[in-house]
């Protein structure tokens, strides 16, 4: 066993938890021979905010992508809201429940901001057009750009595009939000805006898993930090513990790097 490997939480039972929002047991993911995720175990409760940290290539993106099954896991189990996620899972239902925001926004360039937000609700949830548009305008209001509804993505700044991406995900009314480095491509001012939106969402009680190096969010908003290295989870601790007294050398080294950076 890896010397640094954190022993499973004493509170964590061997069986997956039915009451947790997300329950992961012995979950592994391979890319061919390469072990991208190695026997992970943890629970995320309803309304919890989790920040995933770790060096590049440690498997952070892969981990959060297993929750909406954009990357299917190979062994072990994932339960979301008590339901098993495997090849028999209804992907449409799963993805209605788990929303995702990407580093590069990935807005649909051929659709206006409003249509970006209403496309999936209409196609996937069969929401009537009028209703979908009302909801989209409400979420655009919430992310602070109601006046951009009729523009095309190319006409917006990076920060505005990421807000649209968040609104687009919210329009599916998910119970879990996955963020993959949502601020990595933004300048400092835009970062502040996007982080404050994420704070608001967190306050509203939506379960959040976020890969980010943004201290403002991980220190003050997150309930727990998951620290990963080479496909394994080395630490799961509250941010105050993690940032002051990390348990592993690897995490200490990572934090030193982060601060210097």
């Amino acid at each position: 066993m890896h010397p640094d490997l954190q022993q499973p939480d004493a509170a964590l039972s061997a069986a997956p938890s039915e009451s947790a929002m997300i329950s992961v047991r012995n979950m592994s993911k391979l890319y061919g021979e390469f072990v991208a995720l190695d026997r992970l175990n943890f629970d995320v409760q309803q309304g919890e905010k989790i920040v995933v940290l770790g060096p590049s290539g440690s498997g952070k993106s892969t981990l959060i992508r297993t929750f909406n099954r954009i990357e299917p896991h190979d062994s072990g189990s994932i339960l979301i809201d008590g339901k098993v996620i495997d090849e028999k899972t209804n992907l449409t239902q799963l993805r209605c429940m788990v929303g995702m925001v990407f580093q590069n926004y990935n807005l649909f360039p051929h659709l206006s901001v409003l249509d970006n937000c209403t496309l999936a609700p209409q196609l996937v949830r069969n929401t009537p057009k009028k209703e979908a548009e009302d909801m989209a305008r409400r979420f655009l209001e919430q992310v602070g750009i109601p006046e951009q509804a009729n523009k095309y993505p190319i006409q917006l700044s990076g920060g505005q595009q990421q807000r649209v991406a968040i609104a687009r995900a919210l329009c599916m009314q998910p119970e879990v939000m996955l963020f993959d480095e949502p601020t990595a491509a933004l300048d400092p001012e835009a970062i502040t805006g996007v982080v404050s939106i994420m704070n608001t969402l967190a306050e509203q009680g939506i379960t959040t898993l976020c890969v980010t190096h943004e201290m403002a969010f991980s220190r003050h908003i997150a309930d727990k930090i998951i620290f990963m290295d080479r496909g394994r989870i080395l630490e799961i601790t509250p941010p105050e513990t993690f940032f002051t007294t990390p348990q592993t050398e690897r995490a200490q080294a990572f934090l030193d790097q982060m601060i210097r950076y």
């Binding site: 239902q93 360039p109 051929h110 659709l111 999936a120 190319i154």
Partner: protein, 517 residues
């Protein structure tokens, strides 16, 4: 006159010796030749050789001429329905071999070389003539053509005949006659009219008929005495009983005056020869001919066929090339991928004309159902061009699909869309913008490629033009009219491209802002 009676004599001689068999064969086989099938006599013809077979009016599918009269008389005699299939000259014998028609009647000389493969029965006397521009002095023998260029129709036997002359010329230490071959008789005549070649070789009956159009423009300079160039014959697949029946039928038509009446009708007589010895000066561009061509129903129909073939075949090509492109863009290797790659290289590699000829002439040899009437030139062209174009369209689709950012599919997946929705609403609209300009380019090129289908008798714009030119020899005027049609179509699609590109303003920040304001 003398020659005609000679033919009649030869026919009656043949019939009298064959008659006993003929009578018994008629009793046994219900008195129709075996190539009359389901009560239909199918005749292949290349309607560019007046007065034997040509298109007189505007309906290109209804040729007229002495050959058609003969075909009608034969069909009547055999109580059969007549079906005429107009096509390119080079396609006639392959089609007969492929059983697409029972008979070829197209002003074709009776030659021993052709009789090796098919049966032939003569029905009209003729003679070979050498024709030059007006004001050219007559020559005394073929040897006088040494070193000069002459034009002949390709697929005819004139080239072989002249090569035999050339052997004699070379043996005598003289320069050979230079031969140029053209696909239609009227193009052959044109070469003389514009002065590119010194003379052309043709049959006298044709010149007699064309004397009105050619009057003053050309003149006969020599009638070499070739004994083997004296009869036009009908050709059919070898069959001893059919041969007797056709022979009997032709002899009867000669006796009851049917053939003679047809000769009168099409002015196939020696008097016509006189007119071709007088000279006159050529005229300039005939504007009224040009405008009447431009506004004629025939040209309009031809353009519609051109447009329909191009649009339909490209539509089919696009539909079949999309799944092909998606498969080829997918990860990994499979047998299907290897098959598709071969498909693309084969159909991009082979000349389009060859593919057309293959589908029209070779396919029926493997699959007899392609001989049937439903497999029209239109359908054959559609199949050939759709397959050919799909091989090019695959490449356009592939690069367009891979130009769409992979994050788009990811985002659409994450929003819960299914495969169909992802392609329909996210990937295709973006790929379309990239694929559209090269696709319209390809379409314009395809629109022009349809003109190749005239070789398999599709009556598209260029085929119509050629038929009209053969009728009048006002080639500059008709070519100009065709050009106007092609350009009008191309410009329309270029205009359409500009209009459609405006809808893609989302890809350009400045244009998007301009549209919004």
């Amino acid at each position: 006159m003398f020659r005609k009676s000679l033919l009649a004599f030869a026919i009656s001689l043949g019939v009298s010796t064959a008659l006993p068999f003929a009578a018994s064969a008629q009793d046994a086989a219900g008195d129709v030749p075996s190539f009359v099938q389901n009560g239909t006599l199918t005749v292949c013809t290349n309607p560019t050789l007046p007065p034997m077979t040509f298109v007189k009016g505007s309906d290109a599918s209804k040729p007229e001429g002495m050959d058609i009269d003969v075909a009608q008389a034969l069909a009547q005699r055999w109580h059969a329905k007549l079906s005429i299939i107009p096509m390119d000259f080079t396609g006639l014998f392959p089609s007969l071999g492929a059983q697409r028609c029972g008979m070829v009647l197209s002003g074709i000389i009776q030659l021993p070389a052709r009789e090796k493969n098919f049966d032939a029965i003569a029905y009209q006397d003729t003679a070979l003539t050498v024709v030059a521009r007006a004001n050219t002095a007559p020559i005394t023998s073929m040897a006088d053509l040494s070193g000069k260029t002459i034009a002949v129709q390709s697929g005819t036997s004139y080239a072989t005949r002249i090569n035999r002359e050339n052997e004699a010329l070379t043996a005598a230490g003289k320069l050979p006659i230079i031969i140029q071959q053209y696909p239609t008789e009227d193009q052959v005549v044109q070469q003389v009219l514009i002065g590119r070649v010194f003379a052309f070789v043709s049959q006298d009956v044709e010149l007699y008929f064309r004397q009105k159009q050619l009057h003053g423009k050309v003149r006969i300079i020599l009638k070499p005495d070739y004994p083997d160039y004296r009869h036009f014959a009908v050709y059919f697949r070898k069959n001893a009983q059919d041969r007797i029946m056709v022979q009997t039928a032709i002899a009867a038509l000669e006796q009851d005056g049917t053939l003679q009446a047809s000769r009168q009708k099409w002015s196939i007589s020696a008097q016509s020869e006189q007119a071709l010895t007088q000279d006159e000066s050529a005229s300039s561009f005939n504007w009224s001919a040009f405008f009447s061509a431009l506004t004629s129903l025939a040209f309009f129909k031809g353009a519609c066929i051109t447009l329909a073939v191009a649009l339909l075949s490209h539509a089919i090509a696009i539909v079949i090339s999309i799944p092909m492109a998606i498969t080829l863009n997918g990860r990994g290797n499979s047998v299907l991928k290897a098959v598709l790659k071969t498909y693309v290289s084969v159909f991009r590699g082979a000349p389009t004309l060859l593919q057309l000829l293959f589908i029209w002439n070779a396919l029926p040899q493997f699959f007899p159902i392609f001989r049937e009437q439903w497999f029209t030139p239109f359908l054959a062209t559609l199949v050939a061009l759709a397959i050919n174009e799909s091989a090019y369209q695959v490449e356009i689709n592939r690069s367009a699909l891979s130009a769409v950012d992979a994050g788009q599919e990811l985002a659409a997946d994450a929003l819960g869309m299914n495969r169909k929705q992802v392609y329909r609403h996210v990937i295709f609209p973006q790929a379309l913008r990239i694929a559209l300009p090269p696709t319209i380019n390809d379409f314009i090129s395809l629109l022009k490629t349809t003109s190749l289908a005239s070789v398999i008798s599709l009556q598209e714009l260029l085929a119509i033009t050629q038929v009209q030119v053969a009728r009048t020899f006002e080639f500059t005027e008709y070519y100009a009219a065709a050009l106007v049609y092609y350009l009008a179509m191309v410009f329309f699609f270029l205009f359409l491209q500009k209009r459609v590109e405006r809808r893609f303003s989302w890809a350009d920040r400045k244009k998007a802002s301009a549209n919004a304001s």
